[in-house]
């Protein structure tokens, strides 16, 4: 686990990346990635398949060396990779023993509570558990180690819809109790509403945007109105869609100015996280084609 306690402007930073780059042979999987994640946040790392989410996470977790730039996490990091690996011959109880022996801090009660919550048998070899149950063992191990920063790569990928909701809820209650910082990656944006309060958006190995979710969404607005070439308010057009008689604009409002009021045929709609992310990703795809 890497430890690099850093603070800027008095605010504690849990994870920091500075000009981070990583390439596999000639192809850059990650480039010029710079951000700071404040402590205590639940951050979502979002991007299309192959955007570099896993690469970024493993570099941040100290499991992979960057080719340029630097990365650091404050305190102890726990990382659960996409495959939710566990030792197949170990029982869940063995995995907890493993956690107790290989960590400086170990919260047995918390790990056992997680396993009990999801009804995981303690005495069966993990290789005989289902994929979803193995994932719960991996989560219990990570929770039990009481990390300062918890990194989860596609945490909900092989869980059923009910388990997804339960895991999300449990995770948030752990965050409330322990004050840890969580960074989780996903390409299913719908799962994130109400979970994440910070967003890191990755496309083609580059960080498109990052920051406080409410602030990001507040800076953007969606207008729907009669077909038109320009939106009813000033700002950067993130996305424009037109039908025969209707136009929809997603506009990034200029900073430091009051929110414009539009009237007439135009309807202003608050932006959902999903709208925002999809529009951003769509824009990069069009940009890549051009």
């Amino acid at each position: 686990m890497s430890t690099a306690v850093e603070t800027t402007d008095g605010a504690a930073v849990a994870v920091r990346a500075q000009g981070l780059g990583k390439r596999y042979r000639a192809k850059w999987a990650l480039r010029e990635c710079t951000f700071e994640l404040p402590a205590g946040r639940v951050a979502a790392l979002v991007g299309a398949n192959g955007a570099g989410k896993t690469t970024l996470m493993t570099v941040l977790a100290g499991l992979l060396d960057a080719d340029e730039g630097s990365a650091g996490a404050a305190g102890r990091v726990a990382f659960v990779s996409q495959e939710k690996p566990v030792y197949r011959t170990f029982s869940a109880a063995d995995m907890l023993r493993f956690g107790a022996r290989l960590n400086l801090v170990w919260d047995e009660a918390r790990a056992r509570r997680w396993l009990a919550r999801f009804e995981i048998p303690l005495d069966r070899p993990c290789g005989k558990l289902s994929g979803g149950q193995q994932a719960q063992v991996a989560f219990a191990l990570a929770i039990g180690s009481r990390p300062d920063v918890l990194m989860l790569d596609e945490p909900l990928a092989n869980l059923d819809p009910l388990a997804r909701r339960e895991v999300t809820a449990e995770l948030l209650s752990e965050v409330d109790e322990t004050g840890m910082t969580v960074l989780l990656s996903t390409h299913v944006v719908a799962e994130l509403s109400g979970v994440a309060d910070h967003l890191l958006l990755l496309a083609h190995g580059r960080l498109l945007t990052g920051g406080d979710l409410d602030e990001l969404l507040g800076r953007h607005v969606s207008y729907t109105g009669p077909r038109s070439e320009a939106p009813p308010a000033l700002g950067g057009i993130v996305e424009a869609r037109h039908t025969d008689n209707q136009s929809t604009f997603l506009v990034e409002l200029p900073e430091g100015q009051p929110r414009p009021v539009v009237a007439g045929p135009w309807v202003e709609r608050p932006l959902t996280l999903e709208d925002y992310v999809l529009a951003q990703l769509e824009a990069t795809r069009k940009g890549a084609r051009a």
Binding site: M1, Y24, T54, T58, A61, L63, L64, D65, R76, V77, A78, F79, V80, S81, E83, P85, V86, Y87, R88, T89, F90, D94, R97, F98, G99, A100, R101, L102, N103, L104, V105, W106, D107, E108, A109, R110, R113, R117, A138, L141, A142, S145, R146, E170, S173, E177
Partner: protein, 326 residues
């Protein structure tokens, strides 16, 4: 969620992950491989000691255990010095890293409060030291059997320069075990596939052993050279019997230059053959290493394998410490 608080079992905090923890992990992961090899080696050592006792008591090695010939039991024991290093390489070392990569559990263990380097150091020490101990035990037992059997006869039954007697000493066994362990670990780190790593380790171990023993060992030092007439040479037909090692021999002239086989094959008896050889000025040359080179040769061979082991170990550590892919 029930109202359980986390105060029931206190949160455990400590300063570091200790050797006891790594020992627990190593045993828990590799217990079958460890138990299998240790049991096999213990059986071989026990068999060797029984044979030593039997040979020492009877001074006879022909009729061991009734119709069991020495060769059937003894050869099992004498296979051990050849096989131990190989078994350690293939069954202990080759899966260590490869299985972790294959099942992605390296991401689990290295995400705990332990660095990859410290973890690997733990594995190397906790598996490598027992591996060397097993090899030393096998070496000592096989050596005792060689000495015992050689003592029953004027001429050595096991030529000390030849396999398996050359290998059956603790130092050489240590070097093979260390080399095998490092080789398996290096393939494990490079290929990241268990079966592939085991196969390559098997092939490479045998390959290196054959090349060093077959091609290099005869040339560790320049062999001594002697030229003799046919009669003197014939008396030591199956080797000089003084513990020296003949690496090359053939027909030569008095100056030692190799010559073609003379046309003496149609002679009627040994005397006529000898006379024909003498008439043609054909002598016999021998290139050999005297008996007192045995220990220096064993030291040199051990050094070769220990240097290779150090290089391979460094490669494995470099791979693990500087991960270029996950």
């Amino acid at each position: 969620m029930t109202a359980t608080t986390t105060g029931v079992v206190p949160v455990a905090k400590r300063a570091g992950v200790g050797w006891g923890d790594l020992a627990w992990l190593t045993w828990r992961q590799h217990r079958w491989a460890i138990a299998g090899l240790v049991a096999g080696a213990a059986a071989v050592v026990a068999l060797a000691l029984v044979l030593v006792w039997r040979v020492d008591a009877t001074g006879d090695m022909q009729g061991l255990f009734g119709r069991w010939r020495f060769i059937s039991l003894g050869s099992v024991v004498m296979l051990a010095p050849i096989a131990t290093g190989l078994a350690i390489a293939v069954f202990w070392a080759a899966p260590v890293l490869a299985r972790e990569y294959e099942q992605r559990t390296h991401l689990v263990v290295w995400s705990q409060d332990i660095t990859p380097t410290r973890w690997l150091t733990g594995k190397v020490v906790l598996l490598g030291v027992p591996a060397v101990a097993v090899a030393v035990g096998v070496g000592l037992a096989a050596r005792a059997l060689v000495d015992s059997i050689n003592a029953t006869s004027d001429r050595p039954v096991f030529e000390l320069f030849a396999m398996p007697a050359f290998e059956a000493v603790p130092l050489v066994q240590t070097a093979y075990a260390a080399f095998g362990f490092a080789l398996g670990l290096a393939f494990s780190a490079v290929t990241r596939r268990t079966v592939l790593s085991m196969g390559l380790t098997l092939g490479a171990f045998i390959g290196v052993r054959v090349v060093v023993a077959g091609l290099w060992r005869p040339n560790f030092q320049t062999p001594l050279f002697k030229v003799e007439p046919y009669d003197a040479y014939r008396q030591q037909w199956d080797g000089p019997g003084d513990g020296s090692w003949v690496v090359n021999s053939g027909f030569s002239d008095a100056a030692g230059n190799e010559v073609d086989y003379p046309a003496c094959s149609n002679t009627v008896d040994q005397a006529a053959y000898a006379k024909c050889m003498n008439d043609n000025n054909v002598l016999f040359f021998t290139q050999y290493h005297p008996a007192d080179r045995l220990v220096p040769f064993q030291l040199f061979e051990s050094a070769i394998f220990l240097v290779l082991a150090a290089g391979l170990l460094a490669l494995a550590f470099a791979r693990v410490r500087r991960a270029r892919r996950i």
